[in-house]
Structures are given as C-alpha cells and as structure tokens.
C-alpha cells in the first residue's frame, strides 16, 4: 500500500496515469491550475504527451486526435472552460471516441467566481453540447475517490467508446488528503478502429457526419441503445444509514460529504436521517432512489446550486413523497451545522 498526500487535481492525474493515460492537453483556469502543472511534470516521466494548448477548444480537439489515434487521452478544466469544450465533447460522442474530461466545477453563470460549485449538473448530465447524446458522469466526494474514479473513467470510456466526465469541484480539486495509490492498469484494450495508418488493412475513418438520408438516424438509434446498456449496467450510488431513515437526504460530491456530517449530528439529536448519494450523475440511480423513497417520509435535496439534481430526484420519486430543498448557488459552500439546522426545520 502506497499512501501519499495529494490534492484532488494531483490525485485525479495519478488515477489517469495509473489507467494508462499518456496524453493530456489542457489550458490554465482556476481552480484546477494544479492539474496542468502537475501533468507537465508527470506525463514526460511516464513517457506520455503533455501539451498546454492555446485554448480549451484546441485542448479538447487535441484529445480528440489522440483518442482517434488510439491513445488513452484526457483534458481537465473548470466550468467556463468546460463550456468551450462542449463542441469537442459532442464530436467525441458522435464519432464514438473514448476520452476523459475532468470538470472542477466553479460558480457561474458567465465568468462567475472561482469558488466551488455544483452548478454544471445540467450541463454534465443533459449532454452539454449540441445533439442527442449522453456522457457518463462520475461524481467523487474525496481525494481518494477522484483518484479511483478518474482511473475507472478510462475503462468506461474504452468499454463504451464514449466521453466520460469526472464531475468534481473546487473543493475536491484543492484540498489535500492521503491517497492510497493502489491502482495500475497493465494491459490496455486493443483498438482496431484507431487511425494508425492502413498497413495490411483497409483504411479506418473517424467521423460523425452522415449526409446520406437515414444513416444518422440509424447511428443515433445505435447510440441510444448504447446509452440504455450503460444505464442498466453502470449506475452507481452509495447510501449511509438509510435503512431506518424517515428523512432521506439526497446529495452528491462535496455537498454529500458535508451532508454526511450533518446526518451524524441529526442522528445524535434523535432524527432518523440517512444519506443517498448518486455516484453516477448520469446514469442517475432512479430505481434505487425510488425504492428507498418508498420507505422514507420526506426527501431533502441539498446542492451547491439553485436546484438542478432535484429534477432527477423528482423523476425518480414521481411526486409520491414530499421533497424539500436547500441550495447555495454562486459559490456558497454550506457547513454541516448549516445543513443540520435546515434538517431540524423539516
């Protein structure tokens, strides 16, 4: 076991390297500047490629090229930069290229603030760019998890030939925690479709354009089938003290971690609260939440935004239960005492 003290940016980078990622292109933006800085040192050490691109747009397109060439490739950014990358993410989804994008969510809209936020939930889970597509979205709540989830993201991206987003925030990006670096991918999957030169085979092409009538519709139905398969197989959640809970707190990422402490306070005060945490934001654990909601009396959604994941909670429980909400938009990070106070009001 190898435990080291790392920031979330560094741990995510180590997870990528452990997964065999050997191509990183990025652009400076707070609160994830440590990411490109760290990669600029570590990538060459591992024999990989680091490029500081001229823009977020260029960075995601470099990743597109590297992915097309068969590399495990990634980029990282924070919200305004992720907006710029959406064009490229749409092309990755359309061309079915595997890639990993880490979003250290900061507060918007516009230039907003550099403080942590969860306000890119809609952008991450509803597609983000143009067209009919989904991206797998993983939401870590600790530095250990961002290491493991980034590693896992590469396997998912290759398995389904799809872009995967690690949806984190400025808190997890910058805090330092001890991380057990236990992962190491030895063998990478073969990619017969990659553009490596057509030696002893017919030429390959990577594309998302389909001008012949009907071809795109067929392609998009195939994508829909893939997304259905992902929903059935890859939905993840975790729960804490939910078995006897009257009050089900639903929260993800950093905010869920704060809620966890608030729930301990609530339990000490005799309130039967439990925590349901979606680990994949897409696919969202609708069925698992619906099952638990059948037992609880009330649901309390807590997010660092105006209320975005609450839409998915409503889809899951279909108005069969009262839903309360507490949010902190614009970079506000609630304390566990603050959430405990809100729990007591319900």
């Amino acid at each position: 076991m190898r435990k080291v003290l790392l920031s979330g940016c560094e741990a995510s980078a180590e997870g990528a390297l452990a997964a065999g990622c050997r191509f990183y292109a990025g652009y400076p933006i707070t609160p994830q500047n440590r990411f490109p800085e760290y990669m600029s040192e570590r990538m060459p050490e591992e024999g990989g490629v680091f490029i500081q691109a001229e823009s977020e747009i260029s960075a995601i397109n470099m990743v597109y090229g590297a992915a097309a060439a068969g590399m495990r490739a990634m980029t990282s950014s924070a919200s305004p930069g992720i907006s710029l990358k959406q064009e490229g993410i749409s092309y990755l989804a359309g061309a079915e290229l595997p890639a990993v994008i880490v979003n250290m969510n900061r507060a918007g809209p516009g230039l907003g603030d550099v403080t942590p936020s969860q306000s890119d939930y809609f952008q991450s889970t509803r597609g983000g760019g143009h067209g009919d597509y989904r991206t797998i979205v993983l939401a870590p709540w600790s530095v250990q998890e961002i290491y493991e989830f980034t590693y896992k993201a590469f396997d998912l991206a290759d398995k389904y030939r799809t872009p995967v987003i690690v949806h984190s925030d400025g808190v997890t990006a910058q805090i330092m925690e001890s991380v057990d670096l236990h992962l190491h991918r030895k063998r990478l999957p073969e990619k017969k479709w990659a553009l490596t030169g057509c030696r002893e085979r017919l030429p390959n092409s990577v594309r998302s354009l389909a001008l012949t009538p009907g071809v795109l519709e067929t392609h998009n139905w195939a994508l829909a089938g893939k997304y259905r398969k992902i929903s059935l197989r890859e939905t993840r959640h975790s729960k804490y003290m939910c078995d006897d809970a009257n009050l089900l707190v639903v929260s993800f990422g950093t905010c869920a971690r704060i809620c966890h402490d608030a729930i301990l306070m609530a339990r000490a005060a005799g309130i039967k609260a439990g925590l349901f945490r979606p680990v994949t934001l897409w696919p969202f654990p609708y069925e698992e939440l619906a099952k638990l909601a059948g037992k609880a009396k009330k649901i309390f959604v807590v997010e660092m935004n105006m209320g975005q994941m609450i839409d998915d909670v409503k889809i899951a429980v279909k108005n069969n239960i009262r839903i309360f909400f507490y949010g902190r938009p614009g970079g506000g990070v609630p304390s566990s005492e603050e959430i405990f106070r809100e729990i007591k009001k319900i």
């Binding site: 490629v49 260029s58 090229g65 490229g88 030429p203």
Partner: protein, 260 residues
Amino acid sequence: MKTIYKRPLSLTSNTTIFCPGCGHGIVQRVVAEVIDELGIREKTVGVAPVGCSVLSYDYFNLDCSESAHGRAPAVATGIKRSLPGRIVFTYQGDGDLAAIGTAEIVHAAARSENITVVFVNNAVYGMTKGQLAPTSLIGQKTTTTKRGRTAEANGYPIRVCELLAALEGSIYLERTTIGSVPEIIRTKRAIKKAFTCQMEGKGFSLVEVLANCPTNWKMTVPESFRWINEVMTVTFPPGVYKDKTAFDTESEKKEGTPGK
C-alpha cells in the same frame, strides 16, 4: 500497352460529390500522387475539417479523421504527438483555416508541429453556398456581400502564408495555384516538399493552393481558371514564403544560414 495515367492508390474509386469543374478534385489527386510517390500511404493519417474538405475521407484511400470546423491542426497535433512515426496532414479550406480556425493554425505553426497542411484557398465559403470568406478579395461579390467586399464594411483579405511566415515555427510555406498545367505541376512539387519536410522531422509545413469554385464564383470553368491567374494572384502572389528545410539544427534555423 504502357499505362501512362491511372488513379493513384491513395484515392478511392468513389465518385466525388464536388460541383462540376471544382478545384478540389485536382488538389486531392495531387496530394494522393505525392503520397503514392513517397510510399507513405500505409502510415499516413489525414484530417478533414468542416467545409467541402470534410468529404476527403471518402476520397483518400488511407486513414482519415473528420474534425470540427477549424480544429484540424489541433486534431492533427493530437494524432502526430500520439504516433510520431506516422505522417499526418490536414486538408483545409479558407473559411475553416483563416476564419474559425485562425487560433489553431497559428499555434500549430508557432509550436512547429511536425505536420503538413494543405490549404485550399478559393476565396469563398463553398459548402454553405458562397458567403464572404476571410480570403475573399476586395470587390468580390458573395452572398453576404452582394455589392462586393469593401474594406470599410468587411475588412481586408487575410494572406495566410505572409502571416505565418512571421512565426519562427513555420519551416516551409509556399503558395501555388491550379490555374494552369505548369502551376499544377508546381503545386505537386510544393506538396511533395512539404511532406518531405515532415518525413525529415523538420517541423511545420503548409502549402496554400489557390483553387477555383466556379459554382459560387458564378463563372464557367475556363473563366474561373482565368480569374485565379489574373485576379486572385494579384492579392495572393504565388511563391515560396518560407523555406528552412535545408537547415538541420535549431541554431541554423534561428540564424537563417543552412549547414553544408
């Protein structure tokens, strides 16, 4: 009987959907002949971005990637850095390269990415049917400048070779035309030199080819070739704008004096 003319191996037998008289067919054939002659088809990857160029992957008989509008140099960078032993080229039009993709081309040249860019300049947006391009000439009528481009309203055409020549990272830059047979031969020579520059690991190369778009210029094909030769070349003079291919080392490139 001796075969004196045949389809290059690097072109597919697909029928192109380019308009009658379009210059793309000539440029793509020239690129394919060069790839055949250099014997690099099986290790070459092409990148075709949005615009009429995007269809290249149906016509080049080699590995090809589509790219988003203007982003081909970034995609090519990703491929080349991942597979340094492969030959990577982009095939881009003027709207793509000189408008929406200005940042990508300038920075690929500044980094001296070891890629080759075939830049087809026909002074108009072809696929979207004839809007003002960054390279449209002063006075040129387009669907968004019906009375002709004016400097006051639309600014001036961008001269890409001249612009990129200012960057230390660009190693080989030449502008040619397909306005006549000798010019097509010169184009082929330039493209061959650009690919050779990459094969020798020297860095960024670009050939700008002035080509015709009779449909959107609203001309007959012979008129369009005359327009290249008599009008376009005034704003875009053909010639070699940069040639540091003879230089072997970094210091030679910097000082501008080739080694023995």
